[in-house]
Amino acid sequence: MAKRREKKSKVLKTKKDRAVVAVRSEQEVAPMPKQAEETVKPFDIKEQNVMDKKEFRFPHGYGDNRIIILIRDPWWIFSYWEVRRDKEEEILRKIESAGDQKQKSVLRVYDVTDVHFNGRNAHTYFDIDLAGLANSWYINVGKPDRAWIVDIGIVTKKGDFYLLARSNVVKTPRFGMSDQLDAEWMMPEEEYWKMFSLSGGFGLGKGSVEVREMVKRQLEEQISSGALSSGASVFKARAERKFWLVVNCELIVYGATEPDAKVSMQGKPMQLRPDGTFSMRFALPDGMQAIPVEATSNDGIDTRRITPIVTRKTE
């Protein structure tokens, strides 16, 4: 089984469309949760050329010059981009004509919370140096409930930043109870915490920091469809199998007579095949089994009876 899976993933890696998968540096990538135990054996479907007009491959690019960012969770965003060669060359010429040189490609991550961003008015920003072939990146912004924009650009030797593309704005999810109170639905602070605690199934008497931690822990545990959706996942991990052996016995009793005869086995009428043969298959437990087989001719005159006796003993 393990061998088989290994083979499969190899196949995937050689697929051409996998080339679009980003190259990333290890430390920037969020730890990958363990792969769920495979419950169904891998099965490659046959190629379905029926519908294929021509061989289809995902393009390496769409001729765009852009960067898109997505929210992964309150602390991480995902970015992917495509920079057109002509755009990059144009910028490089600009850098050169300013008597400067490219030092590196970076992602510049801006905190633009409540700001109409113009390139210079972010609260803070930080840079991520890009490795050569990357076309996507997981960015640890580390702050829930803030708005973000990411530029991809070039930092020069002199330390100037030249923009290649600017992303959409996203806001990381808020994590924790809101400070905004609703005048119409006010109650004492501790009452809010009580409701909050009860809602999280934490019991009573928990403070804000404690509850926040508990919520986080709870979310990190997998009490979620992530583990339990149908079709693709596991309900619980299969018990670890080390070395094992299973032995079972089955008994096949078979025979033949005139095709129009009536046959019974252990008193149960048997269906004969057109050529007069018959067979029965039994799971054979330990102990003795007598299996009387009786055949009666179609006219009811002749009867034959044969009784195999079988003993199984497992040691």
Partner: protein, 529 residues
């Protein structure tokens, strides 16, 4: 008079898998297994409640992909064939286990179950199980709601977000209207994935409520007065509910949850894997790969590879006591809450994947049956309700902006956005941009172009199924998921190119319309901006 309410919500969904080009297709079994093991057992339970004239309230969301498959003639015929084989297998098993009485009784149990399934499927509902849900909705006990068109995970639809979300929502609500002849009362957001602002698309289609995970409410703004124990109104007027953790855990959790009880049936011991290859060969996959048949003879027994034979009576007693325990805990929960609710009655929202019941947790439908009956007769602290009903109870509800959230792994988008599957989004995003562009430039399309645009919308929607990213992540069946995603992208792109060049290829279009025939009434103008 009840002091508080419990709303059980079952979410039934399977991705659209239909391969008329193959007589036997592994992934189609997902539907067949779910029909035999989950949908029919739930329907049997509802029939029993109706027969015994027991009033109840239960909410079920049926995803449009699942509804489409349940109503599809080709899959219906294939299901019957699948079921015939199971009946044949269970007959053989009755003979084979003749000398082992515990297994023999179980073989009879499965045989009865399969024969019943055939009767219910063929005779009682004319092969179309949606008719069953429609019927129970009409009795006023069941509230059927929709889900997004293809279970697209909304939080990752970043480009052309409004059109993207509208396409998923409107295609679903239109289909619901057509099938049930009324508007959907609520919607199940796929994976409870919610982004502030998405309720506008729900409002536009007249959807009254949706559900989020607990932290969607708890981290909402302003502070939620009632925790997850009330409905809230978003500014758009659409109501929102949050999942209760305590009741979720007792069923969901593999560790603390009921389904792990040692008396319950062991999912992982299936005769498809256990029996002699030559014997079981005709009943496993056509390629000869062993698969689950649904016939399982053992109970969980313990954390051990040694399994004892399943004992249905013992399992049934356990399910009854678990139902009693669940009810007792909800009563306690309500009593605990009542003083903090400012005179309101709390509602406990308990959502589950429907396929957990029966398929994974074999005794699940039985447990639910016991629970519903017990709540009706054995106490009066809690009563069952639906999210739709609860919103009619009070004149006002707190207005709340729920927080971005999902019920997936770690509460956000990580399961659908990580190293194995993140590459799909650049293509998905491009597709929806192209869809919008094509729709905008052909606002009043006719004839072939109209058909091509509608098929583009179908292919886009199918590519958007959250299932592909999910399956790619989990690893099993991932080659199938990648193929499907690529296939829909390919079909979409070919149609897009054809429309741009002004000459859709009718033969090709016809083949696609025949193969990916979901949403016959899809309207591409949903993507006009």
């Amino acid at each position: 008079m009840a002091k508080g309410y419990l709303a059980i919500v079952l979410h039934a969904h399977l991705p659209f898998v239909r391969h008329p080009e193959f007589t036997d297709f592994l992934e189609e079994d997902w539907l067949f297994e779910a029909i035999t093991e989950t949908y029919i057992p739930l329907i049997k339970m509802l029939q029993g409640l109706e027969r015994d004239k027991i009033e109840y309230k239960l909410t079920i969301s049926l995803s449009p992909t699942l509804m489409t498959m349940l109503m599809d003639g080709h899959l219906q015929s294939k299901y019957i064939r699948h079921l015939e084989k199971l009946i044949e297998l269970s007959e053989k098993e009755i003979d084979r286990t003749k000398w082992e009485h515990q297994f023999n009784a179980l073989a009879h149990m499965y045989h009865t179950m399969f024969v019943d399934a055939r009767r219910i499927f063929v005779e009682e509902y004319g092969r179309n199980l949606v008719n069953a849900f429609k019927h129970f909705q009409e009795t006023g006990n069941l509230e059927v709601i929709t889900c997004c068109a293809t279970h697209g995970y909304l939080p990752l639809m970043e480009t052309e977000r409004t059109a993207s979300v509208r396409g998923q929502v409107k295609t679903a609500t239109d289909m619901y209207q057509k099938v049930f002849g009324r508007k959907t009362p609520g919607i199940w957001l796929p994976e409870c994935g919610y982004v502030p602002g998405d309720e506008a698309a729900l409002k536009r289609e007249g959807v009254k409520y949706f559900l989020v995970d607990s932290h969607g409410i708890l981290f909402g703004t302003p502070r939620p007065r009632f925790g997850v124990f009330s409905g809230y109104l978003t500014k758009s007027g659409v109501a929102v509910y949050g999942r209760d953790i305590e009741s979720s855990k007792s069923v969901w959790s593999a560790v603390e949850g009921y389904p792990g009880d040692y008396n319950y049936r062991e999912f992982y011991r299936d005769i498809g894997f256990d029996l002699d290859y030559n014997y079981i060969r005709p009943y496993i996959n056509a390629d000869g790969v062993r698969i689950n048949t649904g016939v399982k003879y053992y109970k969980i027994t313990g954390i051990t590879n040694h399994k004892e034979p399943y004992n249905p009576d013992q399992a049934r007693d356990t399910a009854a006591s678990h139902a009693a325990n669940f009810m007792f805990n909800r009563e306690k929960q309500v009593e605990h809450l009542i003083g903090s609710m400012g005179g309101r009655k709390p509602i406990i929202i308990a959502p589950y994947d429907a396929e957990l019941y029966g398929h994974w947790w074999y005794e699940g439908p039985m447990w639910l049956d016991f629970l519903i009956r017990k709540i009706r007769y054995d106490q009066d602290t809690i009563a069952l309700t639906t999210p739709g009903e609860y919103m009619k109870m009070y004149k006002s509800y707190q207005v709340l902006q729920p927080a971005f959230s999902s019920w997936g792994y770690k509460g956000y988008s990580e399961f659908w956005l990580e190293g194995s599957n993140d590459w799909i989004y650049r293509h998905l995003h491009k597709m929806v941009e192209r869809m919008v562009e094509a729709a905008n430039t052909n606002r009043h399309a006719k004839g072939l172009v109209l058909r091509a645009l509608n098929q583009m919308a179908r292919e886009l929607l199918l590519a958007q199924s959250s299932d592909w990213a999910f399956i790619i992540k989990t690893g099993s069946h991932s080659s199938y998921a990648i193929k499907r995603f690529r296939g829909h992208a390919e079909n979409f792109t070919s149609l897009y190119d054809d429309i741009k060049s002004g000459s859709p290829d009718e033969e090709y279009l016809k083949r696609l319309e025949g193969k990916n025939n979901i949403f016959p009434d899809v309207d591409y103008t949903v993507y006009c901006t």
